[in-house]
């Protein structure tokens, strides 16, 4: 249940990414800025749901603090670094630079999502399944 909810959230972010990338490929700076803002907001919200609710609950339930969640947090940091680069490219109107950082971010996100969807979320569902409804509620409010 947690897995399904979070996987849906991944796909929503993917769709928003595609819109921003298409705008940048088309050379439209102001549409790219708008679409990028929507994508960034959705993705940062997703990272926040994990870092502030899901990961702490998982760590508390399993006692695994240095394991899979530590690697996921590190990759979140790498994503934020690319967001900074993309913002700098947009601020200077460099759409080619934006596209390069955007594609790097996409691949980083997707290999990260594969690990979450195949391994971490199923582990979360096993460890936290009973409280899934409450946890999803707290994540949505986060």
């Amino acid at each position: 249940m947690i897995g399904e909810f979070m996987t849906r959230s991944h796909r929503e972010c993917d769709e928003l990414f595609a819109v921003a990338e298409a705008a940048a490929s088309g050379g439209d700076l102001s549409r790219t800025q708008q679409a990028h803002a929507a994508f960034e907001a959705a993705l940062l919200h997703h990272l926040g749901m994990e870092e502030n609710v899901l990961f702490p609950d998982f760590e508390a339930a399993t006692g695994m603090t240095a394991g899979p969640t530590a690697v996921m947090r590190m990759e979140h940091g790498q994503m934020r670094g690319l967001f900074t680069q993309m913002q700098q490219a947009l601020d200077s109107g460099a759409l080619e630079g934006y596209l390069g950082a955007a594609e790097t971010l996409l691949i980083l996100i997707q290999q990260h999502n594969m690990k979450e969807e195949h391994m971490l979320y199923p582990m979360c569902d096993r460890a936290l399944g009973g409280d899934a409804g409450a946890i999803i509620g707290r994540m949505q409010a986060a």
């Binding site: 993917d14 769709e15 990414f17 595609a18 990338e21 298409a22 490929s25 394991g67 899979p68 690697v71 996921m72 590190m74 990759e75 940091g77 790498q78 670094g81 690319l82 680069q85 080619e96 630079g97 596209l99 390069g100 950082a101 594609e103 790097t104 996409l106 691949i107 980083l108 997707q110 290999q111 999502n113 594969m114 690990k115 195949h118 391994m119 971490l120 199923p122 582990m123």
Partner: protein
């Protein structure tokens, strides 16, 4: 050899890169063999240059890249880390390089000693790969479709390897009695369909939806394709060894390949990412190539083809499908790995952040160079396919393939050189 659940990012960069960088060298050698032998190479599928070509490409390029990619993908797909990756990857690579070279030399007329050397070298390389990846998959914490599919692909490789080793033993010690024609057909079927096609399919149903933002492959296809193709191959094997008709199994295999290719083309046509780059064009070309190979295979069941055109399904499969997919994958995986490893070194260098930004994927491998790679590949493929009908073109095709693999190799080498230059910059910045 594998550690339990770990979401760590990647083995050392040198592990996959040594495989990726070697592949174009074998590709250039294959182009050289074709340019040197010319029309004689394709007079039938039994000519020594055709057999050398098949193994330079099948082992030296396709299996080489797939090995490197497996070492890289195992942590992502199965959550297992390969312990001592540098040692195991290095050994696997060295054995595969030496074994492929020995086997090709054997076909090109070297002493039977070459075959006798190739057997333990290739048996060791592929045995090691099967052991490491097989153990990793057995320990995967969750058995999703890709883990299951990858096991089918690995067992396809195991059968292809066993048949290949038996055939090579026959070349090395000619006293060994062998049903050579039947064994060769089966070896080819297991290698191309049971190993290459299944592994590409497993990778595709992960990477096509995620990297092109498409809907998922239908769940029934992901669940059924690998076991169905495996059973068809088993049926083909049993029928062939019993001397019964093989066309029903062959027809089923061709339809399964065509179905996978068409499904992928449909997904790609409906993708949400609108950007069309060289990698996507390689994937599209590959799926058209696979569908064309399947059609040519079906046609050859109905209309007896002259010996030269009899090679059409295999040529379309290897060059049009498998080599195109490999090119398309390398265009993404190598720039991403360069970025990822620079990023990791940056994180481990406390003084550097802010003063050093790792180059993004497009900076590592700019799109114009990727398009040049696509263009040189498409030209080589076109001349080769034309050469099936007009054999005088085959020497030119060989030269074009040398160009296509050199372009791929040069793109990879430039990416790796940029990686080392950036590492030095990072060290100075710190």
């Amino acid at each position: 050899m594998t550690a339990a659940l770990s979401l760590e990012q990647a083995p050392p960069l040198s592990v996959p890169l040594r495989f990726f960088l070697t592949a174009p060298v074998f590709g250039i050698a294959a182009g050289g063999v074709l340019a040197w032998a010319g029309p004689a190479a394709f007079a039938s599928r039994w000519t020594p240059p055709a057999l050398a070509l098949a193994h330079l490409l099948g082992l030296g390029v396709l299996t080489m890249v797939m090995c490197g990619a497996l070492f890289q993908l195992l942590p992502v797909l199965a959550g297992v880390r390969i312990v001592r990756a540098r040692l195991i990857g290095g050994a696997c690579h060295a054995l595969l390089v030496a074994g492929t070279a020995a086997l090709a030399a054997g076909f090109l007329g070297a002493d039977t000693v070459a075959f006798r050397l190739a057997v333990p070298l290739l048996g060791g390389a592929l045995g090691l790969l099967l052991a490491v990846v097989g153990t990793g998959l057995a320990r995967a914490p969750r058995r999703h479709d890709s883990v299951r599919g990858m096991r089918w692909a690995l067992s396809g490789l195991a059968v292809a390897t066993a048949l290949g080793l038996i055939l090579a033993l026959g070349h090395g010690w000619s006293t060994l009695p062998l049903a050579r024609a039947a064994f060769t057909d089966l070896h080819l079927a297991w290698a191309l369909l049971g190993w290459v096609t299944l592994l590409v399919a497993v990778v595709a149903w992960q990477v096509v939806p995620m990297f092109q933002v498409t809907t998922e492959y239908p769940p029934w296809l992901r669940r059924a394709l690998a076991p169905v193709m495996w059973l068809l191959l088993a049926w083909l094997t049993a029928a062939s060894l019993a001397g019964r008709v093989t066309w029903p199994a062959t027809t089923g295999l061709a339809l399964a390949c065509a179905g996978f290719a068409v499904q992928t083309l449909v997904l790609l046509a409906r993708r949400r990412r609108r950007r069309r780059d060289a990698s996507l064009n390689f994937w599209t070309l590959a799926m058209v190539g696979l569908a064309a190979a399947a059609l040519a295979g079906l046609a050859s069941l109905v209309v007896p083809l002259p010996p030269r055109l009899g090679l059409a399904p295999a040529v379309l499969f290897v060059a049009g499908f498998a080599l195109a997919v490999i090119n398309g994958m390398l265009l993404k995986i190598v720039p991403f790995l360069v970025w990822l490893h620079l990023q990791q070194q940056l994180a481990a260098t406390p003084a550097a952040p802010g003063r050093f930004v790792p180059p993004d994927m497009h900076a590592v491998l700019p799109e114009p160079r990727a398009r040049l790679q696509l263009g040189s590949f498409a030209l080589a493929l076109a001349v080769l396919v034309a050469g099936l009908a007009v054999p005088a073109l085959l020497r030119l095709a060989g030269i074009c393939w040398i160009g296509a693999f050199a372009t791929l190799g040069w793109n990879l080498v430039r990416a790796v050189r940029l990686y080392h230059a950036q590492r030095r910059r990072l060290a100075t910045a710190a």
